[in-house]
Structure formats: C-alpha cells, structure tokens
Amino acid sequence: MTTARARKRSTLLTALTAIMLVYSLVPLVWLFINSTKSQASLFDSFGLWFSGDFSLFSNIRDTLTYDDGVFVRWLLNTLLYVVLGAGGATALATLGGYALAKYDFFGKRAVFAVVIGAVAVPTTALAVPTFLMFSKLGLTNTPWAVIIPSLISPFGLYLMWTFAAEAIPGELIEAARVDGAGELRTFLKVCVPLLAPGIVTVSLFTMVATWNNYFLPLIMLKDPDWYPLTLGLNSWNDQAATSGGQAVFNLVITGSLLTILPLLAAFLLLQRYWQSGLAAGGVKD
C-alpha cells in the first residue's frame, strides 16, 4: 500500500485545496459563532465574529428547555425516524442490491430503470396523491407516514449493487450452496459480513437523508409532537412572524447547530468504515 505514503507532500497543493476547505467551513463557522450570541447581539454585531457575552451555553439550555423541552421531543422523534427509516432503507437496499448483483432473475433489467425513472418525477407533485393514499390508510399524522417513504433509497440500492458485485466472490456463494446452505442462510452467514463496510456507508447516506427530511413530514404531520427537528426548527423560525410570538432566532440558530452536530459526530466516528465501504477495499491491495 503504499507508494502514496512515500510521496512528497506539496505545500502549494495543500494551500490550493485549503481554499476549498475554507469555502466549506465558513458557513459552519458562521453558525457556530452566531450560536454564541443572544437574541439581541445577534442583530447588532458583525456576523463572522464573536460579540457580547458568550451565550452559547445559555442558548443551548434555552433551546433544550424552551416550550417545555419540545426540542428534546423532536430530537427523539428524529432518532426514531432515523433508526427505523434509515435502518429499514439500508436493509432493503442491501437485500435488493445483493439480489441485483448476484442473481439473475426475470425483470431484473427493468428494476433499476424503473427506480431511476420514478425518481425523476418531481416529489412535490406526488405529495398530494401520496397524502391522500396515506390518509385513507389512516397513516397521516403518525410516525409511519414519515418512516415508510424513507425506506426507499435509490442511491443506496445502487451503492449496494456495485458493492455486492465486487465484495462477494461468486465462488463463495457457489461453495455455500454446494455445502447445502439455503439462500437466506448463505446471505446472512456468508455475504452480510463481507458487505459490512458497504452497509455502514449506505446507512450513513440514508441517515443523512432521513435526518434532513423536511418536505415529507411537512405534508404528513400536523401534530408538533411528531415533528422531526427540521420541521420543529422551522416552526420556531416562523414564530417570529406571528403576533405575540416571540422572535427566537438565537434558538433557531443554536438548534440548527445542535441538529447537525450528531450527524457530524457520526461521520467522524464512522469515518474508517464508510471510507472503506466506499473505496471497497481498493486500498487494501
């Protein structure tokens, strides 16, 4: 592995890439700096520097306790949606990707074509038909209305397809079959361990998608008790425009920061896995 390690580091290239880094970071820095400001100093200070008292901790406390701690409830809802939605999406994508990679079956060619074709239909236009269907089934305003549509991740299916094709040698499956293992047992015992890095990668992507889901819950949910974080934050943001409603931009900003932190943490902690998942072992040669 590693001629790369022997290679000479380049200050120039590092400096040039650093421009990109700064571009990526500035808005996040803005978010952090402004989450340290109170509602008052938010409006009368330079956006990209600290000002007034360092209110980060009081902002966090206020965010978590405002309106009887509804933020915590939203956080738990989001976790529920992520665990069931993203977890289920990963499972379905893994099963489907495995089948596409390792089985030849009737209609296989059509599967991905249909998936891509359907994804091209603007989701906003499907909102109403979907709502009416779900409503008839009594699913609206329940967590299922958010979770069920989250179960589909076309990109996840695609990733697992490519990953399974390479990660699982055909011989291995043949060998398992020769040993008399059933198809499901072969998949669970032989293939899933090999697919682990891919599964971590797909689950991260679906997690981001579910965590950031906004449009669908907006249509499906009315009861703030079921809101995910994105919808809840937005309702706080709107509150400034209702009479008698308190302007809580500082809580919106701090809440935004708290919303993205768990995702960033997940990315950093699972870095090793998702990179090997995406890179599919190439570096391990």
């Binding site: 409503s135 937005n234 309702s235 209702t242």
Partner: protein, 447 residues
C-alpha cells in the same frame, strides 16, 4: 393573529399556500357539502359543554394557550387539544389536505380574514347562523365582524383584529428634525428628508407585500374586489388603487424604501438600529416589537395612520384572524362553545391581558385597556391610538374567494415594480389579469 403576508414563510421549503383543494379532491375524499345548516341553540351548546368531550383546535395564535387553561378549569369535562399545525398558509394547506382526505379534520381552526371567503366558498365551514351567531351583532368591532361574513353568512368569530397605525422610531425622527406625518404627502416628504439626511436610513421597508398593498388600497377607498356569489369583479385600477400606486411609486422610484423583506432577521435588525424608521401596520405589532426588537425599547411610538385628506380618520384592517368550524369536525356544538368562550368575554379578556389586540368592542373600549401605559413605547398609551384606528376602518371591503392564490402570485406580477422598470400601476394590471384568468379557469364569472 398572523401577519397577513407570505414573507413570514421564510425558511420553509414549503412556500405553500392554501390548497383550497377541497373541491378538487372532494371526489376522492369524503363528501363535504351537506346542504342544510344545523340549528343549535344556546342550550344545546351549554349541554355539550357540560357533557364534555375532546376538542382539537388548530391555531398558531399564542395567547390561546392561557385561554385553554382557563376554559378547562371552567368546564372540567372538556379537553382541548391545541395543535399548532403551522402558521398561516401552511396550516391552510394542512387543513385543505385533511378536508380533501376526509379525515384528521380539526373541530376548530384559526383562519385569517383574507382566507375565510375561500374556505367558505368551498363549503368547508359550518354556517354559524344556526348557532345564533347573528345575535352577536355589536359584540365585535365593525372591521373584523364584516370580515367573517361572506355572502351574508357568518362563517367564523373574530379572534383578533389589525386596524392600521403608524409605528415610528421617535429617536430617528427627532435626530433629523422630522415631524410625524399626518398625511401621505407629508409621509413622502419625510421619506425624502430622512434619506437625504442619512443615506442608510429609510422611511420604511417594502419588497412587495400583498397584505400591505390591499390594506393600503382599502384605506384609500378602493374596492378592487367585488364578489357576488360566483360573480367576481376585479378592478385594480379603481380610484383607491390608483391613489395608492401613484403614492408608493414615488417612494419606490426614488429608492426611499429599504429593500428588506418583512419578518427576516435583517428586518428585525433594521427596526432596531434605525434603518427602518416607520411601519404602517396592524395593531398587533406592539407585541412583536417588544419581543423581536427588544433593543429599541423606548424609541418607538404609535401615531394614527397617515391620511389621504388632512383631518381624516380612515384606516383599514391588516391581518387578523378568526376561529371557524370545519364541517367535517366532529362535535360542532362543543366547538362553538369553546369558540365563543375564546373570542368573547372572559376568553377575549385573557387574550388581551396576554398581549393580543382585541376584536371585541367591550375590550377595545375598556378604560383599563386604553389607559395602559407601554414602557416599550416610552410610557405612551398605545391602545388609545389603536382603538381609535379600530373605529375608523373603511367599510365595504371584500376579498376574493380565491385570495390565497391571488396573494401567492402577487410578487410574480406587482413584485416586478420593485426590481425592474415596471410601474406599480402596470404591476397591478398584471396581477389583475392573472387573477381574472385564474378565476375564469376555476369556473367563476369574472369581470
């Protein structure tokens, strides 16, 4: 009581507006036009309150929380489930979707005055005549009371009102020696003087706002929307509309209004630091200034709305909302019981005490209300001015039965005047044309 604007939907992926989709999808949902009006006596309502039950109320108005607490204490068998299903347009979308689907419809919903005719026309709301709502004549101030009627039928009870007044930053006015404008001509002169003295300061901010524009036309005596059942006349070139367009064009052409959209953080910032020196806006504004622009405490004052003729006292409504009973709600009698409690007498008083601007004559005229001194406004008796404004609302105004849609395309048309060489008059013409076209497509007889 929301501010009647699209702008507050900032930050939302859904710029949704009311999907008065009921009709469109009624075929797929349940039947929502049972023709007969229920007759429910006061005794029936009392019986329902005593019997108890659960009510679901969709509203974003914040002071309703205290009302619910008091109501449940008074009627212990009733449980009120207060749900914030979104603010304004978003809530209408949710409501229309629920009505279309025929399930999940609340027992009571908050609906702004401008949107009420649309729901009324869609036959989605209970006609309150059967509940004896007509006996409430005189209970409410004239502006809101007229607003909850559509085609002579009462569809809701007014919850709050927004008679307009001039909010101004006294510190900025004093600094530049500007007198408080009593007429629109003086207002334009003040705008010029202020901006000349301080190029960073503007008399107000505006990026095109349907609610503000229609209210201004209303005050100027315009009646651009005439509705008689399904016959609609739209004339955005009538005298009132033209008066407004000519006035405001001067400010826009000379760049005397700050290009800051209402309710954005920049707007709050501008209200705090003197960039935006005045607001001509509904009477619900004090609570927003107090919470959103706390830093400017002591600087703001309230004066009567500038007039078209010196010595006049004409005003218009800006925003404000009602409570209405969707037909698909379950317990209409109980819903009416809560609605009446929340909008009149005790409930109205609780809401006023918590900062709302009342739509009831009793509360508006109460001495305690009028004499209340506002520390935020330098001790001024703000409600005196606002109560005065409530009595000056020009009569005879009506909104379109598809006003929610019309407002949603306001910036597509009139908005052009703010970012190009199009004039406001041309913009209003384009708005009219687009609204006429839509009305015809929807089966109305227009113009």
């Amino acid at each position: 009581m929301t501010i009647n604007r699209r702008a507050f939907l900032r930050g939302t992926a859904a710029l949704g507006t009311a999907a008065a989709a009921a009709a469109a999808l009624a075929a797929c949902g349940s039947d929502d036009d049972s023709g007969d009006n229920p007759t429910v006596s006061a005794n029936d309502v009392d019986a329902a309150l005593a019997a108890g039950g659960t009510l679901t109320v969709w509203a974003w108005e914040t002071t309703l929380k205290q009302v619910v607490t008091a109501f449940q204490a008074k009627y212990p068998k009733v449980t009120v489930n207060l749900v914030n299903a979104g603010t304004g347009d978003k809530q209408y979308t949710a409501l229309q979707n629920a009505i279309s689907a025929g399930s999940g419809v609340p027992d009571l919903a908050q609906i702004e005055y401008y949107a009420l005719p649309q729901f009324a026309l869609g036959k989605s709301l209970v006609d309150l005549s059967g509940f004896g709502a007509n006996s409430l004549d005189g209970t409410f101030t004239p502006g809101p009371w007229a607003s909850v009627k559509s085609g002579g039928v009462t569809y809701g009870l007014p919850m709050d009102s927004g008679p307009m007044a001039l909010f101004y930053n006294k510190e900025v006015f004093d600094k530049h020696g500007i007198a408080v404008p009593a007429t629109w001509d003086e207002y334009v002169a003040a705008a010029k003087k202020l901006h000349a003295a301080d190029p960073k300061a503007y008399i107000t901010s505006d990026t095109g706002d349907a609610g503000f524009t229609t209210s201004m036309i209303w005050q100027a005596g315009g009646k651009p929307f005439q509705v008689d059942g399904t016959n609609v006349k739209i004339n955005l070139a009538d005298d009132g509309s033209t008066k407004f367009a000519n006035l405001w064009q001067q400010l826009v052409t000379d760049k005397l209004v700050a290009p800051i959209s209402g309710w954005s953080d920049a707007w709050y910032k501008g209200l705090g630091d003197g960039t935006i020196a005045t607001l001509v806006i509904g009477a619900w504004m004090p609570a927003n200034l107090e919470s959103g622009v706390a830093a400017a405490k002591g600087k703001w004052r309230v004066a009567p709305m500038p007039q078209w003729t010196a010595g006049g006292a004409a005003t218009a409504e800006n925003g404000g909302s009602s409570l209405a009973i969707p037909k698909l709600g379950k317990n209409n009698a109980l819903a009416y019981g809560f609605m009446k409690y929340a909008t009149t007498g005790e409930g109205a008083q609780i809401r006023v005490d918590n900062g709302a601007f009342p739509a009831t004559t009793e509360q508006v005229n109460a001495d305690a209300f009028k004499n209340k001194e506002f520390p935020y406004f330098g001790g001024q008796k703000v409600n005196e001015v606002l109560a005065q404004a409530a009595s000056g609302v020009v009569t005879g105004w009506s909104y379109l039965p598809f006003q929610v849609y019309a407002n949603s395309i306001f910036n597509d048309t009139v908005g052009k005047a703010y970012v190009s060489n199009t004039t406001l008059a041309d913009g209003l013409k384009a708005w009219q044309d687009a609204s006429v076209k839509y009305g015809k497509e929807q089966g109305f007889t227009v113009n």
